[in-house]
């Protein structure tokens, strides 16, 4: 693919270059998916806190934002990175999330066995994160900006020994899922023709 056909390096400078129609369609589709999943992720977070009991879900509840192995929250400083790098970070985060969401679902199956909707939504979230990550990687590959070399295996999901820490960990994972899907939507919007600069 020639640089005239599409380039992520400087989308502003190349805004006058029209992307291939199918690539454009793919970008729009992936952006729409990210937009939809952002809403789902917010709903999942709300549903999750409801099932953990107070103080989860109370206004002002602020458990420690502890680091989760293999995945950090989107950092404000990443906004200054080139778009391809941001999208690669998005794809990596989306690849790391599914095993974490699966681990949260398994633990919630013990803690809240009579919450089938929550369990189903956690399962859906893992699948949707995988799908969105794959879609982002497809876009990157089409633009010649895919990550070089094999992607490292996502680390095994973290677990917590006690029930309360497990609840907090699940909240953290659901929050990270929402944050990264939202970040992905924002990054993709810069690729959508006619979207924000």
């Amino acid at each position: 693919m020639s640089r005239r056909e599409g380039s992520l390096e400087d989308p502003q400078a190349d805004s006058s270059v029209s992307l291939l129609p199918h690539l454009e369609a793919k970008i729009r589709q992936t952006h729409s998916l990210a937009h939809l999943l952002t809403k789902y992720a917010e709903q999942l977070l709300q549903e999750y806190v409801q099932h953990q009991g107070d103080p989860f879900g109370l206004p002002g509840f602020s458990p420690p934002r502890l680091p989760v192995a293999g995945l950090s929250a989107p950092a404000p400083s990443q906004a200054g990175l080139p778009l391809p790098e941001r999208l690669r970070l998005d794809a990596a985060a989306l690849a790391a999330l599914p095993p974490m969401l699966d681990a949260v679902r398994r633990r919630q199956a013990e803690l809240n066995p009579h919450a089938p909707r929550l369990l189903r939504h956690l399962e859906d979230a893992a699948r949707q994160a995988r799908a969105l990550g794959a879609a982002v990687e497809t876009v990157l590959a089409a633009l010649g900006a895919a990550a070089r070399g094999p992607r490292p295996e996502p680390p095994a999901a973290a677990t917590a020994a006690g029930v309360f820490p497990a609840k907090v960990l699940g909240l953290r994972v659901c929050g990270l899922y929402r944050d990264w899907v939202s970040r992905t939507e924002g990054d993709l919007s810069q690729l959508v023709p006619g979207g924000p600069a």
């Binding site: 973290a158 020994a161 029930v163």
Partner: protein
């Protein structure tokens, strides 16, 4: 007192799950800007307690720099701050808590007991499980659909409220018989098929051999087992509702409908007697009338119905006596409602229109009384238009005839004999001649 084998009621910590190589969270830490990180541990972790019991807990702080103090720490339970008098400082780094007469857990994932730093940040948490051991499940009932499967449901003991997640497991085995030795316990796997306390065994069931069936209830505080129900699959057979239910008019008879159906095909190859029930209701009513003991026939005639009225009809089947079983059998579900309407009453000379009393009539007392009665009767029974003396005379003739008939109780109209007699299914068979003009 709970039945079965009660588990330990004292405080007990959950056995931690296997740890993965990248275990990260054992305790919570609350980094504070510029002052190092403090963490804490609550003991006991995730205890299980009986309702009404007491809890002694501690929150021990340690951090960097060392010498973290217990001063200023406080507790919350499910987000509500606990009264200071329930806490006391045990030593420089440990705050104790004493709770008495605990209520049942608010959520099945456990009540959240949290230790906070002075600034409100969360240092540690522990989940309390307060409840009751399960009581003996009872009232097990089972049925087999067409001898292919078995579905059972039961009532949880203590009306189900233990405040803890309670697992119910339906077990079954062939009743052990002598030389064959003991049989293995099997566990049902498909739960909640017909309600929260039910299970479905889809296959691999033996006939002509009794099964023993029971339910085991287990939670963190203990377990309980129901009485054993012994049954043969053949004694609890039910089937699908009769298919192809048709409801139709009986010629021009305005108070009758004919109901026909087909016997359930799934059991057609088995020798059994079937009995049926029919129920019907008027379209805008919720009250069903049941016709019982429609034994082993696939048609019935309903009589004594209102003319010009839509009726909904349903049929169900009981395949009792299958393979010679002596048991009562189990009724199927009702068939889908089938609707039909009785013919509208045909009365010559009548049509739509308002009924108005004749004017200018003699105002003699008896005539006025009769006219009033006549008009009352018209409202109920006739469609009025073009009133005439002829109509009035016809009514008088009917009144006389009707009076004679009321004095002949039990005498049947020969033209209705075939309809009324021999119909085990008729509950409203009217043998009084219909009003005719």
């Amino acid at each position: 007192m709970p039945a079965g084998s009660p588990g330990p009621a004292a405080q007990s910590a959950r056995r931690p799950p296997p740890l993965l190589p990248l275990l990260l969270l054992c305790v919570l830490g609350a980094p504070r800007a510029g002052s190092g990180a403090h963490t804490a541990v609550i003991s006991p972790q995730d205890p299980t307690l009986l309702i009404g019991s007491s809890l002694q807990a501690t929150c021990s702080v340690h951090g960097d720099p060392p010498g973290a103090t217990a001063e200023g720490l406080y507790w919350t339970l499910n987000g509500r701050r606990l009264a200071p008098e329930l806490s006391r400082v045990l030593n420089a780094s440990t705050l104790a808590l004493a709770l008495a007469n605990l209520n049942g857990s608010r959520q099945q994932s456990g009540d959240n007991l949290v230790c906070h730093a002075r600034d409100g940040s969360i240092l540690a948490g522990s989940c309390l499980y307060v409840g009751l051991p399960p009581e003996k499940p009872f009232n097990i009932s089972c049925w087999s659909k067409n001898m292919k499967d078995l579905t059972c449901r039961w009532t949880p003991g203590a009306h189900g409220e233990t405040f803890l997640h309670t697992n119910y497991s339906l077990k079954y085995k062939l009743r052990s018989g002598g030389q064959k030795g003991p049989s293995c316990d099997n566990t049902c796997e498909e739960y909640h098929t017909v309600g929260p306390h039910s299970c479905h065994i889809p296959k691999d069931l033996a006939l002509f051999t009794p099964y023993e069936i029971w339910v085991e209830a287990t939670n963190r505080l203990g377990s309980a087992r129901s009485d054993v129900l012994t049954l043969d699959i053949l004694d609890v057979v039910t089937t699908d509702p009769p298919p192809d239910v048709h409801v139709s008019r009986v010629g021009g008879l305005e108070d009758q409908l004919s109901v026909r159906w087909v016997s359930p095909p799934a059991l057609k190859d088995f020798l059994f007697q079937a009995k049926y029930q029919i129920r019907y209701r008027v379209e805008d009513s919720v009250d069903w009338k049941v016709v019982d003991d429609v034994s082993n026939q696939t048609s019935c005639r309903l009589a004594g119905l209102k003319p010009g009225t839509v009726y909904f009809v349903q049929v169900r089947c009981n395949p009792f006596g299958i393979y010679g079983s002596k048991k009562a059998g189990i009724w199927s579900e009702w068939s889908h409602p089938t609707a039909a309407s009785t013919p509208r009453s045909e009365r010559p000379g009548l049509g739509g229109g308002a009924c108005e009393p004749r004017g200018g009539e003699p105002s003699s007392g008896p005539v006025r009384r009769e006219l009033k009665q006549f008009l009352g009767w018209l409202k109920k029974h006739a469609y009025c238009s073009n009133l005439s003396f002829r109509l009035y005379d016809q009514w008088r003739a009917w009144m006389q005839k009707s009076h004679k008939t009321r004095n002949q109780v039990g005498r049947r109209d020969p033209s209705r004999t075939a309809t009324c007699a021999g119909l085990a299914c008729v509950t409203m068979c009217s043998c009084v001649p219909a009003v005719s003009f």
